[in-house]
């Protein structure tokens, strides 16, 4: 059905109103499904699904039906042509392929089945399992298939260092910290997992011996570190090392203490490693910590857009929930979001000089402030009908202070902790040192900074404030360097930011506006549905309901009109940042919620101004 022209005096029958109510209903359905555990908020590659199948042997995570469905999903995701498994960007991935193959093997698939042979060949083609990332090698070592020497040795003494020391594990990014602590416990414990061993995934040399991976980067410093690594491993052979046993106890205590209220350890992968570490320390299946951890992993499972059962990396993330609440206008949910505010200072506050506030990565994770979640929550709370209450004001005030306290010296905003991308341990020449950090690429940092400044502008902080100025300078610097390569979503987010912070006459504002406007296509879209929705929001903030905004709105209305009741929930998706092996995740609800939010803003503006403007 072609898009109908929008005119003034819209009624319920008209396309815009209809689109609004349909997308709002779809957003509500999404929320219901997220909360009931039917859908997964952010869908990763098959890596976590494969790991859950592997861990099921020890932890008893799955019933028969779930196991069957997860294995079916892994088989279904295999590339028919290449036999490999891909990450969410569609690139063949060695680590994901190795884990998927292994999970199918553990699930009972015949090594000589056609898909298994294809999978094996794909792993060979990509370099063999020993070249897979730390995570896969950890599983290989746990199963006893490869020696622990294939993993970097972490000096046990590090766990005894005071927290403020640069080399303390507490200085590592939150995701890696939980994983590494569990790894330390596991690597110093004799227990092994009994899993079918995919020896065939390891490439062997001409002498038939498997080729060990190089743990450090090439070069002199890497060689030195490799020698140091060997020295540490040798020292572990010494009997009765008091320091080492004390460090192991400290790490084991940390594993026990770091469990969150929701049962997890930051996300599913560190949770699985921590659960295995607890098991290795003698925790039995009725241990409350073990049970809560398993329940958390179960809660993070759900269906994707195709209906397949997948293992998510987290429970419903606050970023997704908050945006869905905003789109759905769910007042009760917004009140619950308000209550999910962080009310105690976690590890994130060690380097951020402020009191508690903001929102976590997901509900029940009080220790992990998420700047992205805080931004989304602040945006969503503007839709709270009864927002003029001391409770809301307090939450807004605290969130504003937390955002400012999290700002880095160069003006950008980190995701979870200050300094998460400049971990001192990561500067050592380990082959996978970057896993110790949580690095956001420059464009993601720009986008986050712009979104944070937009929310701070909503709390009254404008261009006069030095911290806002600093953030804007960071954005401006990046605009100069690589602004022409920015995605539509980044341009739109920066557009909203400059509209909130600067006067209409600002030169920067004009440049950003121009860079956004120039990307509109003939059909009124800016690319995907999510791109168009975000761009519409940016245009509305910059210039109100102009002609280009009107065309973008018409495109979105058309998309909604063409979708039926079964497909509207999945009219578009976006990608989000993941952790570790799963670097990107698919945000399947992005299309419907961003469309609802953008069309809602458009609708409100034309209601206030009377009609769309003819000038642009």
């Amino acid at each position: 059905m072609p898009a109908q022209p929008l005119s003034q005096g819209v009624t319920v029958e008209q396309p815009l109103e209809r689109s609004l109510s349909r997308t709002q209903r779809a957003a509500r359905d999404w929320l219901g499904q997220l909360d009931a555990g039917v859908r997964v908020g952010l869908v990763p590659d098959v890596g976590p699904t494969a790991e859950v199948v592997l861990a099921d042997r020890v932890l008893g995570l799955l019933d028969l039906g779930e196991r069957r469905d997860l294995l079916a999903h892994i088989r279904e995701r295999q590339d028919a042509e290449t036999g490999s498994w891909s990450n969410t960007l569609g690139e063949a991935d060695l680590s994901v392929s190795a884990l998927a193959y292994w999970a199918l093997l553990a699930g009972g698939d015949d090594r000589e089945a056609e898909w298994m042979v294809a999978g094996r060949r794909a792993v060979y083609r990509l370099g063999g399992a020993q070249r897979a990332d730390f995570h896969v090698r950890l599983w290989l070592a746990l199963s006893g298939m490869t020696p622990w020497s294939w993993l970097p040795a972490i000096p046990a003494e590090l766990w005894l260092l005071p927290e403020h020391m640069a080399l303390s594990p507490q200085r590592i990014a939150a995701w890696a910290r939980n994983l590494l602590t569990a790894y330390h416990v596991l690597s110093t414990t004799p227990a092994r997992l009994h899993l079918p061993t995919p020896d065939e995934l390891l490439l062997a040399g001409a002498d038939g011996q498997t080729i060990p991976p190089r743990l450090t980067r090439p070069g002199f410093s890497g060689d030195l570190l490799q020698a140091f690594d060997r020295l540490i491993k040798l020292s572990r052979k010494l009997p009765h090392n008091l320091v080492r046993s004390s460090a192991r106890r400290t790490a084991a205590d940390l594993v026990r203490d770091n469990q969150q209220e929701n049962g997890g350890w930051f996300s599913v992968r560190p949770t699985l490693a921590s659960l295995l570490a607890l098991r290795s320390q003698g925790a039995t299946s009725d241990d409350p910590k073990l049970r809560r951890g398993i329940e958390y992993v179960t809660r993070c499972r759900g269906r994707n857009a195709t209906g397949a059962l997948v293992q998510g990396l987290t429970g419903p993330p606050t970023t997704v929930r908050a945006s869905l609440l905003q789109a759905a206008g769910e007042q009760e949910g917004l009140v619950a979001l308000l209550e999910a505010e962080i009310d105690r200072r976690g590890p994130w506050a060690a380097r951020a000089d402020t009191y508690a506030g903001g929102w976590p990565l997901e509900a029940g994770q009080e220790d992990y402030l998420d700047v992205d979640a805080t931004i989304c929550a602040l945006s969503a709370l503007r839709g709270l009908e009864d927002r003029d209450t001391p409770r809301t004001w307090g939450a807004l005030r605290r969130a504003g202070n937390v955002l400012f306290a999290m700002q880095e010296a160069d003006g950008r905003f980190p995701r979870f902790e200050r300094g998460e991308d400049s971990v001192p341990l990561a500067s050592l020449p380990w082959a996978e040192a970057d896993r110790l950090c949580f690095c956001s690429d420059a464009e993601t940092s720009v986008s986050r900074t712009a979104a944070a400044l937009t929310q701070l502008a909503g709390l009254g902080w404008r261009a006069e404030d030095d911290r806002v100025k600093k953030g804007m300078k960071y954005i401006e610097r990046n605009l100069e360097l690589e602004g022409n390569r920015w995605s539509i979503q980044t341009r739109a987010t920066v557009g909203r930011c400059v509209a909130a912070v600067f006067e209409p006459q600002s030169e920067l504002r004009a440049r950003v506006e121009q860079s956004l406007r120039s990307r509109q296509r003939e059909d009124g879209s800016f690319g995907t549905v999510v791109d168009t929705a975000r761009a519409l929001g940016g245009l509305l903030a910059l210039d109100g309901p102009c002609v280009q905004a009107q065309r973008a709105a018409r495109f979105l209305v058309d998309v909604v009109e063409r979708s039926d009741s079964s497909s509207i929930a999945d009219i578009g998706s976006s990608t989000a940042r993941g952790f570790g092996t799963s670097r990107t995740l698919v945000d399947e609800s992005a299309g419907v919620r961003e469309t609802r939010i953008a069309l809602g803003e458009y609708h409100d503006l034309i209601q206030n101004t009377g009609h769309p403007r003819s000038g642009g």
């Binding site: 403020h164 200072r345 009254g460 404008r462 006067e503």
Partner: protein, 494 residues
Amino acid sequence: MPLDPESTPRPRPETPTFAAHYDVVIVGAGVAGCAVAQSLALADKTGQRNILVVDLHKDVSPRFSGEMIHPKGADVLDQLGFYEPLRQAGAVDVPGFSVLEHAGAEALELRYDDLQHQRPMGLSVHHKTLIRVMRRFIEARPNISLRAGFRVVDLLREGDRVGGVVIKDGSNLIEVSADLVVAADGKASSTRKLAGIIDERTCLGFTAGVEIVDAAVPHPMAANVILGAVGPVLCYPIESRGDGSVVYRMTFDLPNDLPAKGRDLGRYIQQAFVPYLPQRLAEQTHAAIEARIASAPLEMAPTFNLPAPPASRPGLCLVGDAAGCSHPITASGMTMGLLDALTLGEQARQREASAGKVWIDERAIRRYRAQHDRYVPTRQALADAIYESFRGEGVGARAIQKALFSYWRASPANRRRSLALLSCAEGRPRVFLSEYLRAAGHAVRTGMRPDYAPHYPMSDRLRRVGGAVEMARSKLGLVAEVAWAQVRPGWIRT
């Protein structure tokens, strides 16, 4: 003599009469103008002197303006006879300041009664009530003529000397000669401009205000300063009503580039300031703003920084805001105006001239200026520094703000010394310098010590300290100027 501030003004003759000559013409019937008129009238030993007060506004300027007066100013009001009528009209005794670092913090009290040798209370009163009562009071004096609704459009000159004013009455221009013209027409003084005194006035921003009945402030009768938002918020009592309730003025400091205009400004304040207020006060403020913007825009007034221009010319004296003003954060503007009035009155009292001779001559004017130049720079330097740190724009300003609170928390003696300077009770350069150095030293120490973060990076700590040191350094010139103003011999003055 009880005065009703709401009573209708005394009917003015259709064609108000101006004498051809007055001893003193005061331009501006605000606080400073009325106080100067009263002070001079009291100083007139002969009872023969004629004082003319001219003001542009028939009633009171529609903009809200200064309402808080420090004990020193309250003392002047008492000496001039205004205090009791003002109290009867609803003025409130204020015991000092209560300063809140942020909504969740504990309020710090800076109490006037901790200061020795001065009144234990300041005074706070609705500006319109203040002006109406003062005008009515001086109108009752036989040797003061108050003429409201007239504009002074020019000055009469006798060589270099100012010899009177030209007043516009409809289409007529009336020349009135005077031995002394006093410019009390505020920070935007047109008299100052007509006299060719160049000023370096800069607009700092705006202050928006609402009135709240029985505001739930940490210390009910004190002047409450609440920080944490984009600008400082002040809340102080301005009227004590017969039914026991108290009306408070709440002001919000806004930047020069107003983020919103008209009714949208009310919504901006709801977003930008209300969340940063203590819970109950936030609710009251929200309701007050909603009620106000439903019927009219918020009351607004610009805030200026006017570095003190020369306070005199032959035949002309500048008093009150016309002779220099700062951001109202230290609430010292009206106190300065009242001190100016007292100083000028003292000069007049010392003169023994008989009725036919010049009353306040050039020597008296020079002496007035010498006194004025001693207390004004201290107040301006303090107001400037306090405003900058309370506004918290910049890492240095925030470090100094943190240091100030830490300094005040450290001991009652610190609070006492600071308040003595802030309330114009202390002007000695030694005290000013030592306070400055103590606060700067405190800033260095507290900059290195984070409030919450146990592992706050050293680079951030050093940035704070560097910012505080830079800010302290940038004020060194001002400090030197203040110190010099205190010790400068009169013969150097031009």
